[in-house]
Every structure is written in C-alpha cells, then in structure tokens.
Amino acid sequence: MTKEAARYFVSRLVTTVLVVFGAMLLLFSLTTIVPGDPATALLGPQATPEYARRFIEDMGLDQPTYIRLAKFFGNVVTGDLGIDVISGRSVSAMVWSVLPSTLILTFSAIGLAVLLGVPLGIFAATHRGSVVDHVLAFTSVAFIAVPSFVVAIFLLLIFSIWLDWLPVLGAGREGDFWDQARRSILPIVSLSLAWIGFIARLVRTSMLEVLGENYIGTSRAYGLSERLVTYKYALKNACIPTIAVLGVGVGRLLGPAVLVEIVFARPGIGRLVYDAVTSRNYPVVQGAVLVVVIVFVVINLIVDLSYSAIDPRIRRGTTSQSQAK
C-alpha cells in the first residue's frame, strides 16, 4: 500500500469513527427531549410512579447526556451494549439474534437488484429508443415509485393466497435452511424491486455517457467485438456511480426493511429499533442504532476504498500526486 493510500485509509477511518460518535450523540440528545416515560410505555397501568422512577434510574436517564455517552462507549469497547431493563437480557444478544435476518434481507435485496438491474440497464443503454427501452423505463420508474410494503402486500396476495406457492410468514424454523430460504423469497423481492428499477436507470444513464466517449469509438474502430466493448470497457467505467449508490443503498434499505419485516412478521433489527422507540426502551434503541450506524459506515468505507481497486486512474492519480510533491 502506498503512503498516500494509507493516509487516505486512515483519514476515512477517522471520519468513520467521528460519524458513529456524532450519530450516537444526536441519539442520546434526542432521548432527553422525546416525550413519554419508558415505564408507562412498556407496562401501561402497572407503571406506578415508583416504578417509573426506577426505570429512569436503571436507564440512566437521570444523568447528563455526556456522562451517559461516556458510560455507553466505555461499555461498548468491552462489547457490552447494555441490558434491557424490562427482560434483563443483554442488548448485544438481542441485536445479534435479529441482525443476521436483516443483513440477509438487505444484502440479498441489493444482490438481486444488481443481478437484474445491471443487465436491464445495459440492455436499455445498448438498445436506446427501442420499445424494450421504453417499457423498461416505464417499469423502472413504476418500481421506484411504489413503496416496498405495498409491493409486499400484493406479492402476498398473488403468490401466497391466489397461487399458494409461497408462505405468508417470513420467519422460518430455526436451523431449517430451506424453510428460511423459501420464506425469504417474497420479502427479498419486495425490498429489491425499487432498487432494480433505480439501478437499471442509473446503469443506463452511466452507460450512455460512457458509450459516447471517444475511446469507445476507437475500440470499435479497432474491430473489438461489441460484447467486449460493452462489458469490459464501458461497463467498468459506468459502474463506479452504481457502486457508490449501493453503499448508500444498504443504509437506505433499512427504512423500508422495517415495513417489510412488519408485513412478513419477520425478525429484524429495523423492527427491533421501531418497537424499542415506541416503547421508549432506550438501552435497546441505543445498542441497536449503534450497530446499524457501524454497519452503514463500514460498508460505505469499503465502497470508498474499492474505487481505487476498480479504477486504476484513481490509484495512479494518488501515486502521481505524491510523486509530483
């Protein structure tokens, strides 16, 4: 690794840590202004004033934000995300029990979106103005416009009720891979449809731009096959914006993932955060949000670092700059 690359990596890492810290500071500050006391939200009429006070103390809500933040990060360093004051369970255990489900859903949705969106985008770009291009344009926009939970309900009605091909509930039996895989099909498709449309549009636009470059014309003039020109030379340059968007996409998908998890009654970290916010279960909110933020920034860090691997100009550009100095 060159000095410049190492410097870049370290600066991105520092930025990552600052982002995580800033996000948690914002979250901790919000918990002091959100109305509603945790005991009442969790227990209803059984929440006596004494119990409510006890909850507040157990959650540390009677302490200043900076002390709570310091204690929280102090525990995080040792892998302790806190204790759920209601059930006594470790928040880490709760998060790790549902995180894989969301990651599988999210990454599978992104994967499916890439698998279908990229070829569709390439096809649209290489058949510009054709009937297929117009149909793809329409369907892409339609996929983007329809919310994923609406898609989910329609898929359930068609495939689970009318055709009876797939189950309704999205949580499979523990340890049964095929049951879990079968139940993941509709949730993954629901979540990925909008991104298929988005990626197809993005790839089409990028490809059209790249296909208009001089070097592409030169490549064709040299007699290279259209297949080689499209997939080896054009796509490689056109995919950089798509990779950048995919990194953001993982984070963006966590929002709709909550709704899909609710519709399919599927466990997930989005649902965990949603339920915890509704019930003011702050230790769970803090721990789960921290994990989500870390996953998001790490993925974006990997995406940023992958640019130089994909595009040698970025690698040579950093080396040249350091040589010029």
Partner: protein, 520 residues
C-alpha cells in the same frame, strides 16, 4: 440427432427445478397431518417477560398461565375458579386463607416438587422489594394487604392479610400474580427466568425468540389433565392484514382481529368467526380541573352533544355494544339501570349558553389507531353543531400513554381512553380514586365519596352489599359528567373450524391449556 445442452441451458434448468422444488416443500396442505397436535396462535404484542411477577402484559400473562400452576384457576371459558395446585383451599377468616397442595406436582428442568415454601416465595416476592438486582414487581397492587404466607408443613400453608380483601381470589390467587414459581429455579436462574420460565403447568416453553414468539410444548410431567394440543406456537404478528393472510393460507389457526379484518373471513371455508364481548372499556374523559371543563354544565353539554351510537357505528360497523357505565355487563356490580344519554342538541346548546361558553375550542387526545380516529372524527362533526370546535390530537403510543401523567396531564382537555378489565369491580374502579390523579385518573376527578365506596367495596365480603357500594360509586361518576362511556368492545375470534379456543370471558385472558378440537 443428438441434443446438446450448453452451460446456460443447464444452469437455467437447474435453477427452475430448484424453484419449483422449493415451492412444494412443506406447503400448507402438507401441514394437515400435524394440525391436530400442533397449532399456531397469533398475538399482537411481542413476548417480553414470562416470569409472572414481571410480565409486561396479558400476552406474557397468557403464556404464564399455561406454564405455571396457581392454587386455583379459572374453569375453561369461565371466570369461575376451581382448584388447580391446591387440593384444598378455603377462607378460614376475613384475613386468612388456608391451603393444602396436592403432592407430586413437579417443576420442569429437575427443580423438584412444589411445596408450600414455593407458594410463600411466589407470593411474597411480588410485594417485597426487588432482590439480586431485580426491580420491584409492577404487580404489587395485586397482592395489596398481603402480610405474609406461613408455611405449616411441606404442602400446607396460610395466606395472612392485613385487611380483608373481597377480590383476593379473582385478582391474586386465581390470576397470573398467583402463579407458583420454583424458588430454587428463580434463585438459580435469576433474570434468565424471564425467558426460560420453570413451571409445573400443562405446558413448558421449548423455544422463545424475540420478535417471533414462543413455542409451548406439552409438559408430560404435569400432574393434571393433559392439554389437547401437543404443541402451541404463539406467534407475534403485529400487522392484522398479515394475520388475515396467514389464516387464509393455513399458517395460523387462531387469532383475535379487529372487525374490519375479521368480517371478510366469514366467507373463507375452513375458518369460523365468532364475536365475544370484551371486558375492556372505552370512554371519553374530561379534565375537570381545566378551564371551561370545571363547569359541570359544560361537561353535561358535551355529553349531550355527542351521539355514542353513531360513533360506535363509525368505528366498529355497529358490532360493538354500547357501554353506559364504568363496569361492563359481565362484571359484578354492573349498573344495569345506568342512564342512556341520547343526543340532545338543543339542551346541549342551552347548557353551554347558561355556562357562558360559546365558541368553545377543545382538544381531544387519542391513540393513533383507525378505530379511535374514526370515533374522533365523528365526535368532531357532532360537537361542531353545538358550537364546540374540537381539535383531534392523535399521538403514538409512547407519547399518548404519558400524556395524562404528572404536570403534563393538567393540560389535557378531552381524551379517549381504553383500559383492559378483569372480573372484579375494584380492579376496574381503582384507576379513578383521588390518589390516581396525575397517574391514571386523567380526569383529575377528586371524589372522597367515591374513594370511601371503593375502599368499602374492596373489603366487603358480602356480595350483595358490595354490589350496592359499587353501583353507588358508578352513580357518582355519572353525576360528575366527567366520563362519556362508549363501549366495552367486542372481540372477533377467528379460528379453524375444527379448533375450539378457550379464554376467560372478555378474551383478555386466554387459556392455551384448554384449547381443544371442536368435536372433543
């Protein structure tokens, strides 16, 4: 002629075969063979704590009822109690209850036989301060006035109260707070007991996962009659539409649903829909300490300006019964002769004019659910006619349930509240005593007479006298005009035609161990 398959064709064919094969694995039809021994029931809140002393609500409590034994328990589909763990139990004096356990009742997990010591531990821990890092039990009130539980011998004991309690059997002994836990298991497992409960009841928890639910497996060592189903999967599904689809597809066998979702299921073959009156109670309350609402005439005008029947029609399609007093009809002490207020616009206007209140502006706080929103919108239109502008303030749960607490509660005008009931009048009445102002008495209604009647009824062991006291208390509430009673709701039970669910009337408390097949 030879047929050549290229790589693409092989891959495509394999993928297609895999998809078709996966679709056929364990289809709902294949589950038919197990439907007589395994069923799946839906709950709409996630299970949190299965230890009866720290449960978070009825959804936890219903699992606890089937995992733990109590000295007495409700008969199937009844509020009447029968012996469970107790061979004998009797109220030997107004403040003492003697019991003798049946021998040979074993806790699961090798935690030994149930003894009177376990009973002592189970009841006293609910009223004692939390130990070992555990908080106090939020259900202290269920065992109010408990002095101690004396252990006489291995199976015999005596519950000693500081004062007589009329509802001791219904709210404490026979309810979830009366569940008998293994002292050894609780001390050994600590907070792990919340998710891995050790009981001696008809079922045991074989699996419990956050956001999925729990699986109840028949406890073969249970000393009583074995439950019908070998296994019951208690599944957490928050969305009613998903529940409806799961019932249609066969993945669920039982659920309680709102009327708008349940009604269409009547036409589905293999499902039965039945309506059961609830013992929850809904009302619109008024903050009697706030501005114009301090005037009785204003409150009476608002009561006359509303049409409760129209509001119920909008919210429940006419399926929910109207409630005219605090206690639903199924509860001891229900005031059957309570006045039924009909809308009277002229009288309402007259009262407002007399009170000097024209162009009144008020806010109605509701929980952001469709049923309440529908009722609130109708209420707004109705009150407009009598010159009251009503702003509807729909809030999410966390904010809503704290809105009446402490100083925040002083700012409330009107609010639509729903509480779950139990088969005891004092349990329902407790939220309206003066001590609950700033807690759950959002009306801030301060009535010493009501408090006296409440206390008298709590200690009155003569049923007829108790009924009279409770009715008098309801009359005071009616005279205050701080309460506009709406409904005690109706539960729509959707089940497989061959399934006979069981629950204490009111259907807040389910009896998983009494679920059976319709022909049994």
């Amino acid at each position: 002629m030879t047929t050549r398959l290229d790589r693409r064709q092989i891959l495509a064919g394999t993928a297609a075969s895999g998809v078709v094969g996966a679709m056929n694995i364990a289809s709902p039809a294949a589950a038919q063979d197990t439907r007589k021994t395994r069923i799946a029931a839906r709950i709409d809140r996630d299970l949190e704590v299965l230890d009866p002393g720290y449960r978070t609500g009825p959804w936890d409590g219903n699992v606890a009822r089937s995992v733990f034994q109590r000295l007495m328990k409700q008969k199937p589909n009844s509020a009447e109690l029968e012996n469970d763990a107790a061979a004998e139990i009797k109220q030997s004096s107004p403040t003492t209850v003697d019991f003798t356990l049946k021998p040979g009742q074993m806790f699961t997990g090798g935690f030994g036989e149930m003894t009177a010591d376990d009973v002592k531990f189970s009841f006293e821990r609910i009223t004692s301060p939390g130990q070992g890092g555990r908080p106090d039990s939020p259900y202290k009130g269920d065992w109010v006035y408990l002095d101690k539980v004396e252990v006489i011998d291995k199976y015999a004991g005596r519950i000693v109260l500081q004062k007589p309690r009329a509802n001791l059997f219904d709210i404490a002994i026979g309810d979830v707070s009366g569940c008998i836990v293994s002292k050894k298991a609780v001390e050994q497992l600590g907070t792990e007991h919340n998710t891995k409960p050790v009981g001696s009841g008809p079922y045991q928890v074989s699996a419990f996962e956050k956001q999925r639910g729990a699986t109840l497996k028949r406890n073969d060592a249970y000393a009583g009659a074995q439950p019908f189903f070998e296994e019951i999967a208690v599944k957490f599904i928050s969305d009613p539409k998903t529940t409806e689809l799961a019932l249609r597809s066969g993945e669920l066998d039982f659920a309680v649903l709102p009327p708008s979702v349940a009604e269409p299921l009547r036409a589905v073959s293999g499902l039965s829909v039945s309506e059961q009156p609830s013992i929850a109670y809904l009302w619109i309350g008024m903050n009697v300490e706030k501005g114009p609402l301090t005037d009785l005439r204003v409150r009476q005008a608002l009561r006359l300006g509303l049409d409760v029947d129209q509001m119920l029609l909008a919210a429940y399609n006419g399926k929910a019964p109207r409630l005219n007093t605090l206690l639903p009809p199924q509860i001891l002490g229900h005031w059957g002769d309570a006045p039924v207020y009909k809308r009277n616009v002229a009288e309402a206007k007259r009262l407002l004019q007399e009170a000097g209140q024209t162009n009144l502006k008020l806010k109605l706080l509701i929980l952001n659910q469709p049923i309440y929103q529908n009722m609130a919108l109708v209420a707004r239109a109705l009150l407009q006619e009598i010159g009251v502008t009503l702003e509807v303030d729909a809030q999410e749960g966390g904010t809503y349930w704290s809105a009446g607490k402490g100083d925040t509660g002083k700012n409330l005008d009107l609010f639509l509240l729903r509480f779950n009931g139990k088969h005891d009048p004092n349990f329902i009445m407790q939220w309206f005593v003066p001590a609950q102002i700033g807690v759950w008495n959002w009306q801030r209604w301060n009535s010493p007479e009501y408090l006296n009647l409440f206390n008298d009824a709590a200690a009155e062991l003569d049923k007829a006298k108790r009924v009279q006291e409770v009715i008098e208390a309801q009359k005071l509430m009616d005279q205050s005009a701080a309460f506009i009673w709406l409904t005690n709701e109706v539960n729509f039970l959707v089940a497989r035609s061959w399934l006979r669910p069981a629950g204490v009337p009111g259907w807040i408390d389910w009896q998983y161990d009494s679920f059976g097949a319709a022909t049994s």
